[in-house]
Structure formats: C-alpha cells, structure tokens
C-alpha cells in the first residue's frame, strides 16, 4: 500500500489533471459555441494553475514516500517535476492567449470544439509524460501527445501546406515511436522491469550500452529537432494554429530533451565519446539552425529554425555534462546540465512569447511573410515592446534570461578547459567561439526580424490592427518571466542546482552553480536599467529645455523617403547568407536595370531546407518508383490469382525441400 501513498500535493496534481480533462466535457456539453468555449477554456486555465501550484508545492515539500504515486505509474522526481512545471508555466499564458485567438475563429463561424479537445489532450498527455514512471505508460502518453498535436495541427485543414506539413509531422512522430519501442524493449529485457525507477544500467558494464545510447539519441533527437533530424520542424510549426505552434516549439521539443536526461539517468556514467557526439551534433544544429533562420522570411518558419538553434545550445550543455560525467567531474556536470536545464526553461518562455507575438501579427495582417510587414510599433507599442524583450532574450543579450543560461554554458567551457588540461582547451575555445558566433548570428537575425516587422514604416497598408487584453496578459506574463529570470537569476539557478544534485549526479553536491556571483550580475543589470531610466528622465528634461521636433529623414536628393526605399529582410541578411550558400540552398534573384533608363529593379531571395529538398524528397521519390514496380500484386483477374496459387505452392515447396 505504500506505493499508492498520495502526498497531498501529488493528489492535487491528479485533481488538476482531472479538472483539465473536465474542460473537454464542458465544451461538448454546452450547446452555444461561444459560451462553451469560454467556460471550457476557463476550466482548463483553472486546472493548469492548480497543477502549477501542486508542482511547486511538491517541489517545496517532497513527500516522504519518494512521490511514487498511482501504483508506481506516476513519479514526481525532481527532474520530472522541473519539466512538469516548465510545461505548466508555459501552458498558462498559451491558454490565456486562446481566449483571443479562438474567438476570431468563433466569430468566423468555425467550430473550435475539436481543437480545444485536442489541445487539452495534448496538455494533459504532456504533463503525464514527464511524470510517467512506467515505460508502457510513457509510450502511451508519448503517442497520444503526438497524435493530439497532429489533430490540432490540421485545424485549418483546407490549406494545402497544412496537409503537407502535418503529413511530415505525423510520419516523423510515428517513426520515432517505433525507435522508442526498441529502446524500451531492450531496457525491459536487460532489467526485467518496466519501471523507470529501476533502470540503472551503467554504460560500461552494459553490452547494450552503445545501442541504447544511439537509439535514444536518434529518437529523442528527432523529437527535439537536432540538426540532421530537424527537417519536420520548419514544416510543421508554421502551419499549426498559433497556440499550438507556441506549445509545440516551447514545450513538445523539450520532451526530447527530457528523454535525453532520462537516458543519461539510466546509463550514467556515460563514456566520453557520447559527450563528443552530442557536442558535435549540437554545435552543428546551433550554428546552422540560426543561419537557416537568418535566411527565412516566413516568421513562424524562422522561429522554428531558431528552436533548432536553441535546442543546439541546450545540447551543448548536455554534452558538457556528459563529458563531466565521463571524467567524473561533478563540477562540470553541474555547470553543463545546469546551463542546459536553465536554457530549457528560458527557451520555453521566450519562444512562446515570440510565437504568440508573431501569431497576433499574423492574425491581423493575414500574412507570415515579414517582407510585407513593418511599422507595427506605431499600431501597437506594447506588442512591439514584448516582442523586443523576447528577441533580446533569445539572442542571449543581457540583461535578460537568455544571457544567464548562455553565461553558465560559457563558464562551463572555461571550467572544462581548466579542469582537464591537455587538448581540451583548444576544443573548448572552438566551442566558445562557436557559441559566441551563434549569439552574434542570433542577434543579427533578431535585429532583422524586429526591425523589419515592427520598425520603420509599413511596407503594405495595414487596414486594421486590433489586439485585446488577453494578448497583453499572456505576453505580459511571459515578458515578465524573461525579465525576472534575467535580473534575479539566483533562485532559478538554485532550483536547477537542486534538480541536478538530487537526480543527475547521484549525490555528490557542489555549489558551483549557486556561488557564481549572481548578485553581481543582478546588481549590474539593475544598474543598467536604472541608469537608462534616469538618463531618459534627464533626456526628457533636456528636450523640454532645448526643444525637440520631428522631420523628414535625409533622403539623399529625394525630398522624402518612401516605405519601398527601406532595407528589406532579404537585403539585410544577404551578405551573411551568401557565405554558406550551398548548405542553406540559398537562391537569390537580382534584376537590375542595365539600360540607360532606370527600370524597376528587384532583389528577392529564399532558402529551402537541405535535408528536406536534397535528401528526403529524392528518397521518397525513389520509394514511390519502386512501389510502382510492384502494383501487379493488386490485380484482381481471377486467372492470375489461380496462377498465383500454383506458383506459391511451387515456391513454398522449393523452400521447404531445398532449405538448408
């Protein structure tokens, strides 16, 4: 009976899940679409908040029975709890945003019942996934999660791109669960148990170790979107409805990371090559993910590629941790895993923020192509500010949360180099420069996005731009989180530290993360903020005194500049994209007037995904070609069927009698 002990908080968690599921019932029971939706969404929100509360409670007061609940099916260990709270934290603003997003659809007489159903299923299954302790249960949650995401994704199924993208997504999702089957079968076969809590197969002693590791890396790598397996992301995320794509990019990818951490738990200590593999893949993903992003004009596609980049950064942290565990250096494990975990949280926050922001823009302008945007800041300043905050955070620029996690990872490089001398410093220095380079690229990309979307003057006439309070609430929550983690990282780092200490480094405590002079950083950032504010006040004074006015910008001969004169996203990023042209599959088309009389000149560029266009599509074509060769098997002429009987009997007899 001890195994079904329910600590109060975990009971609360179960209740919250039940409440969330209740919303499905609500939406189907109430007839009036609008009322039903409002009620259901509120119920969902309530359940989610309860869930978050319960998660935090469980984190603060862990239950004596090790939080094994429900016949060891569910377990609330610190790692799972951490991811659980990330999910709930991000889900809350998303649900709030639903109020405004889905209302548009209801106004357009479009039924949202099914979408809400699938969205709720997705949320619940994801929460169960990270708390699952039973492998089969884990798989069930995983599959339900993928399918619910798929069903939600085809909300606007009339569109062609939606069908294509969802097709990609579901194929990949189904393929990877097959890999997961094998992974867990082997684990089950080795340990004779289905329970996560009883999986401890030290890599070295395990003959199956490498196989398990590779399987996990592929399966979870696909889910997380590491570089060779990222191809489904930029197709799937743009087409999903905004709340879903936000949740997909913010959280669902993280389930892959969660899986990697679990795998490490099962196999630790891992040999060093695992670390190197992860590092290489991650650095590759980070650099080229952001570089692809730089070449995109579809804002959601761009953000999807940025997810690849950030997953890469997280992966770098994990790789560092692996190396640490291989050399038995808890310090490095702390720093690496700490950076990874914290960046997971941060990325979840600012990526959701950015997706919701871009979703609002998409709703109003009806396009995702940033080349047609601009000047939105004059329509809705708060949206612009929120998006700016998100961009600063995602480019890892101080003083926001993105910087904190990248800072930890940087420190990790230096620490590794100092701990393990000989050739490590060079590699680490390469990584340092690589990560710095990624940061630079990200900054370039997001200055581009911000400037082209929000600043300047509109490139296409904006008829209406209306936002409502729910948008601002959800954006506000997320932006606030970015700021808080940025300015006051200490508690969050402490949380991460405790997670690692209790569930990843089996006991060896180290305070390296905690005493990293976070107070210094908070102080500096606060100073920056205060100083800017003070100066701003002074500036206002100064303007009062010496006057200020508005006038045309310097037109270099034209009496005033037109919106078409603005720098476009293509031209902004062109110089950078031409460098890895072949990898990005970066095409540009320049038409300049070479006659004496200037005619219209054009410059346009776009980039396809390498894996997608150069590898997968050809392979798929080949498959189709092969299959066409075998269609005779489907014929229905009776004479052939009879002939088949005879032939089959002969063939089988040959097998039976000539088999050696």
């Amino acid at each position: 009976m001890n195994s079904i002990f329910l600590s109060g908080s975990s009971l609360l968690l179960l209740i919250s899940l039940a409440v969330q599921l209740l919303s499905v019932a609500v939406i189907w029971l109430i007839k009036n679409e609008r009322k039903a939706f409002l009620a259901a969404n509120t119920v969902l929100l309530g359940g989610m908040i309860t869930g978050l509360a319960s998660a935090l409670l469980t984190a603060l007061y862990p239950a004596p029975s090790g939080n094994i609940i429900l016949y060891e099916w569910l377990r609330l260990d610190p790692l799972g709890l951490y991811f659980l709270s990330i999910i709930q934290l991000v889900a809350i603003p998303t649900i709030i945003y639903n109020y405004s997003y889905l209302r548009h659809h209801i106004d357009k007489k479009k039924s949202v019942k099914s979408f809400v159903t699938f969205f709720t299923t997705l949320l619940v299954s994801t929460q169960l996934l990270v708390t699952a302790n039973h492998a089969i249960f884990f798989l069930v949650c995983w599959e339900i999660m993928s399918m619910a995401a798929y069903l939600g994704m085809i909300f606007e199924k009339e569109k062609k791109e939606v069908q294509q993208g969802s097709f990609y997504y579901v194929t990949v999702a189904h393929a990877l669960i097959f890999i997961l089957y094998i992974f867990f079968f082997i684990l089950h076969e080795q340990t004779g148990s289905w329970l996560f809590s009883s999986y401890h197969l030290p890599f070295a002693t395990e003959t199956m170790g490498p196989v398990l590791f590779i399987l996990a890396l592929i399966a979870f790598g696909i889910k997380a979107g590491f570089m060779p397996f990222h191809f489904w992301l930029p197709r799937a995320h743009p087409i999903a409805p905004t709340p879903l794509s936000a949740f997909l990019s913010g959280v669902i990818l993280k389930t892959g990371i969660y899986g990697l951490f679990r795998t490490f738990q099962f196999l630790c200590p891992v040999p060093e090559w695992c670390g190197w593999v992860v590092l290489a893949v991650s650095l590759f993903s980070a650099i080229f993910g952001v570089w692809y992003a730089l070449a995109q004009h579809d804002i959601k596609r761009l953000l999807a590629y940025h997810s690849v980049e950030n997953i890469g950064i997280i992966g770098i942290g994990i790789g560092l941790g692996f190396i640490g565990s291989a050399n038995n250096l808890p310090v490095i494990m702390y720093i690496g895993f700490g950076g990874a975990l914290l960046h997971t949280l941060n990325h979840a926050i600012f990526k959701t923020l950015l997706f919701i922001g871009s979703g609002i823009v998409y709703q109003n302008l009806g396009t995702r192509n940033i080349e047609l945007m601009g000047g939105i800041v004059h329509r809705s300043r708060y949206l612009a500010i929120a998006f700016l905050i998100g961009s600063v955070a995602i480019s890892g620029v101080p003083p926001l949360n993105g910087f904190i996690s990248e800072f930890i990872i940087f420190t990790g490089f230096f620490a590794t180099a100092n701990e393990l001398k000989n050739f490590y410093p060079i590699v680490m220095l390469m990584l340092v420069v690589g990560l710095a380079f990624v940061g630079g690229l990200a900054a370039a990309c997001f200055t581009k996005v911000n400037a082209v979307m929000f600043l300047g003057s509109p490139r296409r006439e904006i008829q209406k731009f209306n936002t409502n309070v729910f948008d601002y609430i959800s954006l506000g929550i997320l932006a606030l989180l970015c700021i808080v983690i940025g300015f006051y990282p200490a508690p969050f780092v402490g949380m991460v530290n405790s997670v690692i200490g209790s569930s990843l480094v089996n006991g060896t405590a180290s305070a390296i993360l905690v005493d990293m002079n976070w107070m210094y950083i908070s102080a500096i950032f606060t100073t920056i903020a205060l100083a800017v504010f003070a100066l701003y006040v002074l500036k206002i004074r100064h303007e009062k005194k010496y006057g200020k006015r508005v006038s045309d910008a310097w037109g270099c001969g034209y009496e005033h500049i037109t919106p078409r004169m603005q720098y476009t996203a293509s031209s902004f990023a062109d110089e950078l994209n031409t460098i890895p042209q072949s990898v990005l599959v970066y095409h540009k088309k320049v038409t300049v007037s070479d006659t004496a009389y200037p005619v219209e000149s054009k410059f346009e560029s776009h980039s396809d995904d390498f894996v997608d266009t150069k590898v997968l599509l050809p392979l798929f074509g080949l498959l189709k070609w092969l299959i066409a060769k075998f269609e005779f098997l489907g014929q229905t002429d009776i004479r052939y069927s009879v002939a088949f009987i005879l032939i089959t009997i002969i063939v089988y007899s040959l097998i039976a009698f000539l088999w050696v």
Binding site: G634, Q635, T636, D637, I638, R639, V642, A643, I645, L646
Partner: protein, 210 residues
C-alpha cells in the same frame, strides 16, 4: 484395375487439353464421374454393404447425372458459343500439359520410395488438379472455368482414393454436397453475369480495379 482406370482418366485429361468445344468438356466430366464411381464401387464388390453403396450412388447422381446436365442447361439457356476461347494455342497448351504430367509422374515415383503409395492413381489425380488449374488459367469462358474447377475436384477424389483414405460417410457426403452447392451457386452467378454483362468471359469482370 485401379491403374487402368487412372490411365483412362489421364487420357480424358489429354482430350480436354486438345478439344476446343465446350460440349466436349461436359462429356469428359461425365466420363470422369463414371470412372470415379467405378473406383469407389470396386472395394465393395468383394464385401458388399448397404452403407458402402451410398457414397458411390451419390457420386453417380451428383457427378455423372446432375452436374453435367446442369451445365448443359446453363449452356443452352445462355446459348454460349460452342467454342472455348483459349488464350494460347492448343499445341502449346498440350505441350504444357504433357510436360506437367510427365514431371508429376516422375515426382510421385520418387515420393513413392519414401512412403508406400500406388503411383498411377496418385499421379493422375495430381495431374488432374494441375490441368484443372491450367484450364482456368488459359481459357476465357467462365463456364469453362467451372469445368476446370470440376476437373480439379475430380482429381482430388481420384487422389483421395489413391491414398486409400476413408472419411466417415457423413463428411464424405458433406464434401459432395458442398461441391454440388458450389456448382449450383456458380450456375446462378453465371445466369446473373450473362444478364448483367451481356457475356460471360473474364474480360467482362474488370470492374474491380483500383
């Protein structure tokens, strides 16, 4: 005695493979039915029993009298053209048949070394099955397909007698009944087909493509 009858059976098969008239098929079926009946009767000549005679009697009724007449009736009703339309020349077909029969005889010769079995009825039954399949494979007319199926059935019976194998009478009758019903249903289906498709060749059965 058995062997002689089996050889006769084989001859009927040869005849099948050269003839090009539908009627001939029916006649051959009759002949085969008679042969089978005699084969069934033989064991009971020595020790006579009422039960033993039932099966040959049913055989006689079903295979010799009823089915051929039924087929004839179908042919007349639908006035099927007398010629079977083969899809390959008769000579090729004959060659094929001969080759098959030869192979089968050799094969059964080999097999008879491992288990005691009287080769000739066995082999001729077997070849009847093969040729029934051939007839279905290389003829266009559905009625001919039915005949091919019946030849196959006869082959199986001969085969059964050759392996000296007695089923309980109930089941024996059941098998016969089944065959009978199958043919009956096929006849009905043919009627339908001829009324629906204005013709009854495989060519007409091409709707179920996908």
């Amino acid at each position: 005695m058995e062997n002689v009858l089996s050889i006769l059976f084989c001859l009927s098969l040869f005849y099948l493979s050269v003839t090009s008239r539908v009627k001939a098929y029916v006649t051959v079926l009759r002949v085969q039915g008679i042969i089978l009946t005699i084969l069934l009767v033989i064991p009971f000549l020595s020790h006579f029993s009422v039960y033993g005679i039932i099966i040959p009697a049913t055989m006689l009724i079903v295979k010799v009298i009823y089915i051929p007449r039924y087929i004839n009736k179908v042919i007349l009703d639908l006035d099927i053209k007398r010629r079977i339309e083969p899809t390959i020349q008769q000579m090729v077909f004959l060659a094929l048949v001969i080759a098959t029969i030869v192979i089968i005889f050799f094969a059964s010769q080999l097999l008879s070394k491992s288990t005691p079995l009287n080769v000739i009825p066995f082999a001729s039954g077997f070849s009847a099955i093969a040729i029934g399949i051939y007839i279905i494979m290389f003829r266009k007319k559905l009625i001919v397909h039915v005949c091919g199926f019946l030849v196959l059935e006869n082959g199986i019976f001969l085969f059964g007698t050759s392996v000296a194998f007695e089923l309980p009478m109930l089941i024996e009758l059941g098998t016969l009944l089944d065959v009978f019903v199958v043919v009956f249903l096929m006849g009905i289906a043919l009627n339908r087909i001829s009324s629906t498709f204005e013709g009854f060749e495989v060519a007409h059965l091409g709707r179920l493509k996908d």
